[in-house]
């Protein structure tokens, strides 16, 4: 059996489709196509074939040299792979994985190292594939840190080529999955970055005889559009200035009765014709091109209107120039309107120029966000720090960040401390302190200290990538308010053409003399003023700028629809825990009995709670740590179910808990009982402490309000919203907290699953309800509300149930979001109003409806000026949104 050097298939020498002799050796091919390829570049294919063999040898050798728990000899006939395992939290996880790998058929030996998070597997490639090993690890509940990439490949012409590419990749160590797609000419490769990098993958595909195209980055694709647009803009600018010179000369020439100093020859019709022609067909070419393209598809757009309108003026003038006698015999003074056609074209170009510039600014937000993406990351692999492209970072990588550096991906701090500037993602202007366990967001900037963190989200899953995607989607969407405008636009152009023709006919038949001139001018005026461009730009530009502005403040809006509904909200419901409050209890009051000091009480309480896992205990422990009190380990710790705890600290017996616990042990609480009752009425949980069977103090613990909750509530009220708090707490506690936040209406003792019903109830009473909560526990209520606002999502940006996501854990964002929606919708309404005035109300005026009553006619040149500036004014109005400052409304 021979091997086809091109595709690598096994070929029976007797049945080979073709053979070739090269340097005295006969090669066999599975198909004529392969032979052809071989004959063209025999060296390439032979090199590949040899290369593959050499590589195999190399692999075997290098595998043995590394320090591996699997020894050299065993490896000679088998394959070895190192898989980075993600999600192991203890050594027993390692043995679980090791066992499940070891049980697979074809696996000779598996060893999983917890310390370096690696699974080293020796296996027989003919029995089991690397893919199956990864599957097995994933099935045991862990993940393998792989990266994937899509590579555009040229030259794959048949199904067998697809197999060649896949085969070549799959036999390569480090590649776990390869799927080539003939239709898209792309290969999707999943690989282990520590084993192989993108360049090596490229080389393998090239080695198999196919051409690898440059791997496009998302931003680069956008760049192509930008480059083309910039080029178009330059051409447009040049054309405009040249057109302007021509238009000026033609204008002066045509208006020589106003400017007697103009040389006579400029007034000559032939000269004017010669000057107008390049403007009409070279400078105005884009209108003809666009109109023709649309016409072929049975569409009509603004290009159609401009092309037909200016052509009418132009060709009428040409006829008057060449056959003036025809006009004279019909009793019409042969006049030319070259100035009209030229000036219209130049003015509209000017409008487009301004519009293009302004529109470029509306998508600035996305460009800014895309520009934040870090390029490289410093990861620690095999004990060494190495700089790698950010695309190659995988989940579970340990990443090193120094002061002043950009954090490359999302993750959790493992060791080190620092403060991080997160303003670009969350809008928070003050640096945020980070310590072990804290979440860090990719693309934010590390300020003071160095730290190491574990990557938890990479590639398209990072907060930044999701924000960009969300904002892009939102910007592509439109508000429902636009729909009517859309429906109109579809029928707009044919109807406008009809009106223009009708105006021509009416003026010709019933109009005063010279009827043809009036008919023509009014026809042109209707065509030109009615270009529906401003109408189309009214909403999208405002939505783009509005959502972009939101992203700047860490407010992510799902789309135009959310924006529109948000401004109509009249009721806003807040979930209590974690939304209005911090969501974690803390010590609010300490009352020691006479002889004791606060710190002494805290020392006993804190030490005793050291062994507790209760959230109230944690609050006390935290307080003690805050006050830097030296705690000791408790002995004989015991939790008394539902009542409290007991333990021994420094040889003294400590008892902590509620009234019942004290009563049961026969400890009098007389002196502190009133105080405890008062604390409970404030929504706090009182905890009695007894030392050596004697009451020595009271500690109150409560979930406290976030600092700015009351301000936010007040601002919302000032905006005219009805504010309601929703909670599962008992009435007393709920009312106490609500009172502090300034909320009068409380829905308490609501079970989590009943939150949805409460929202429904409000809605059926005719309210438009916004629900503010976290994206996980409150998801059903968020989805039910007219507007769901998820708060403090951190890096989990794409909260499914919500319409608006606030990255920062701050209620001010709710106010800003509502404010932003109000301002954006106001802008849209203004835009639609102006667009309507220009485009629609202008039509009858242009058709000459006012002429019989007031003698008012719209000159086509004025019509074109109005048209050009309608788009510009709409876009600039939207751009005003860029300058607004959020968070000020509702303040008094």
């Amino acid at each position: 059996m021979a091997v086809d050097p091109v595709c690598g298939m096994d070929v029976n020498e007797d049945k080979a489709a073709a053979t070739s002799v090269y340097r005295g050796k006969t090669y066999y091919f599975c198909a004529i196509g392969c032979k052809k390829k071989f004959d063209e570049h025999p060296k390439t294919y032979l090199k590949t074939a040899e290369g593959a063999e050499e590589k195999k040898k190399e692999k075997i050798q290098s595998g043995g040299e590394t320090e591996s728990p699997i020894n050299k000899d065993e490896e000679a006939t088998k394959d070895r792979i190192d898989l980075p395992v993600v999600g192991m939290s203890c050594a027993s996880c390692a043995s679980t994985i090791q066992r499940s790998l070891g049980n697979l058929k074809g696996v000779e030996k598996a060893s999983v190292n917890f310390a370096n998070s690696k699974a080293t597997v020796l296996y027989q490639p003919q029995l089991i594939k690397a893919e199956d090993l990864i599957k097995s690890i994933r099935q045991s509940g862990y993940d393998v840190g792989t990266a994937s990439i899509e590579i555009p490949v040229r030259g794959m012409e048949c199904a067998s080529c697809v197999q060649n590419v896949e085969k070549a990749l799959l036999v390569t160590r480090g590649v776990t999955k390869a799927a080539a797609n003939l239709a898209t000419e792309k290969v999707r490769v999943e690989y282990i970055p520590s084993e192989i990098n993108i360049n090596e993958i490229k080389k393998i595909i090239e080695g198999a005889g196919y051409k690898v195209l440059e791997i496009p980055h998302e931003e680069e694709m956008q760049d192509i559009e930008r480059i083309v647009r910039e080029k178009e803009y330059k051409i447009l600018k040049r054309k405009f200035f040249i057109g302007l010179i021509f238009a000026l000369i033609i204008f002066l020439g045509s208006s020589s009765h106003w400017f007697p100093w103009i040389p006579d020859f400029l007034n000559n019709f032939y000269v004017l014709w010669a000057l107008a022609t390049p403007v009409q067909f070279w400078i105005g070419r884009q209108f003809y091109k666009g109109a023709w393209g649309a016409f072929r598809h049975r569409n009509a757009d603004m290009n159609t209107l401009i092309a037909v309108g200016t052509s009418a003026a132009y060709f009428y003038s040409v006829a008057a120039t060449v056959f003036p006698s025809l006009f004279s015999t019909a009793g019409i003074d042969p006049k030319v309107y070259f100035d009209t056609s030229t000036i219209i074209i130049v003015l509209i170009l000017f409008g487009r120029l301004l519009e293009a510039r302004a529109k470029g600014q509306t998508s600035e937000a996305i460009r800014k966000l895309a520009g934040l993406k870090p390029k490289t990351a410093r990861v620690i692999r095999e004990g060494r720090e190495q700089d790698i492209p950010v695309e190659e970072v995988v989940v579970g990588d340990l990443v090193m960040v120094r002061p002043g550096e950009k954090i490359p991906v999302d993750g959790a701090v493992r060791d080190g401390k620092s403060s991080v500037d997160e303003s670009m993602i969350t809008g928070e202007s003050l640096p945020v302190r980070k310590k072990t366990g804290d979440e860090v967001i990719g693309a934010t900037i590390n300020k003071t200290g160095s730290f190491r963190f574990e990557a938890t989200k990479v590639g398209k899953d990072t907060a930044l990538a999701q924000i960009i995607k969300l904002v892009q989607d939102a910007q592509g969407s439109k508000a429902p308010i636009q729909r009517l405008a859309d429906v109109i636009a579809g029928y707009f152009v044919p109807i406008v053409i009809s009106i223009a023709i009708a105006a021509f006919v009416v003026w010709f038949v019933f109009g005063p003399q010279p009827a043809l001139t009036f008919a023509l001018l009014n026809f042109v005026a209707v065509m030109i003023i009615a270009c529906p461009c401003a109408l189309g730009l009214a909403t999208p530009t405002a939505v783009m700028v509005g959502t972009g502005k939101g992203a700047e403040y860490g407010i992510l809006i799902k789309g135009g629809e959310s924006l529109e509904i948000a401004h109509k909200i009249d009721t806003i419901v807040f979930d209590k825990t974690g939304t209005l409050t911090k969501g974690e209890p803390e010590v609010t009051d300490i009352f020691p009995l006479e002889s004791q000091a606060e710190d002494a009480i805290l020392r006993y309480a804190g030490s005793a709670e050291k062994a507790s896992e209760h959230s109230l205990g944690e609050a006390i422990l935290k307080k003690a740590e805050e006050r830097k009190i030296d705690l000791v380990d408790p002995v004989d710790f015991k939790a008394v179910e539902g009542q409290g705890i007991e333990a021994r600290v420094d040889g003294r017996s400590i008892l902590m808990g509620n009234k019942k616990l004290m009563m049961d042990r026969g400890i009098g609480i007389g002196e502190l009982e009133n105080r405890a009752v008062r604390l409970a009425s404030e929504g706090k949980t009182p905890i009695y402490i007894a030392v050596d069977e004697r009451l020595s103090g009271l500690i109150a613990v409560a979930d406290t309000l976030k600092e700015n909750s009351p301000q936010a509530v007040e601002k919302l009220k000032n905006l005219g919203l009805r504010v309601i708090m929703l909670t599962g707490d008992n009435k007393k506690t709920a009312e106490a907290i609500a009172g502090k936040a300034g909320i009068e209406e409380v829905l308490s003792e609501v079970l989590p699953e009943d939150k949805v019903h409460e929202i429904k109830r409000l809605q059926s009473a005719g309210k438009r309800v916004a629900m503010v909560g976290d994206g996980i526990n409150d998801a059903p209520a968020l989805a039910q509300a007219d507007i769901g606002i998820a708060i403090g999502s951190g890096t989990d940006v794409a909260v499914e149930a919500s319409d608006i996501t606030l990255i920062r854990d701050d209620l001010e964002g709710v106010v800003s979001a509502i404010e932003l929606s109000k301002k954006t919708i106001k802008t849209i309404k203004q835009n639609l109003f102006w667009a309507f005035i220009y485009n629609t109300a202008g039509i009858p005026v242009a058709a000459g409806v006012l002429y019989p009553f007031f003698g008012i006619l719209l000159n086509p040149i004025l019509a074109s000026a109005a048209m050009a500036f309608s788009s510009v004014s709409v876009v600039s109005n939207s751009l005003r949104l860029r300058r607004i400052k959020l968070g000020q409304q509702g303040e008094r």
């Binding site: 083309v228 666009g290 569409n299 529109k359 439109k478 579809g490 053409i497 009809s498 038949v509 189309g536």
Partner: protein, 123 residues
Amino acid sequence: MEKLIVTVAGLSLIFLVNWYFLFSKGRTKQAVLGENQLQEVTVRVKGGYEPDVIVVKKGIPVRLNFYRDETADCSEIVVLGEWEIRKPLPAFKTTPIEFTPQKEGEYVFGCGMGMLKGKLIVR
């Protein structure tokens, strides 16, 4: 006499314009079922859609690959109202749009402003 001619010519022109832009039919293309079990059609977007009438079979997933060959803003967004799809098409890039038609009938798709139109016929 000439007034009559202009009137008749004008009216017929109005009729023609409306018929051509609003009611006439364009080129038809049948979607082909590919290896991936998708009915696929590539649509070139330039001043309109090419092809602008696409015939697909009921119940089989459809993938329309829109290649936008221009930067003109009109075609920036494609809307398939029936399937509640509204997607931006980046210039000089292919944007696939997938959905599964469940009901027979004729459905209009078009640009964000409804000026460019195409038709999807489900059989």
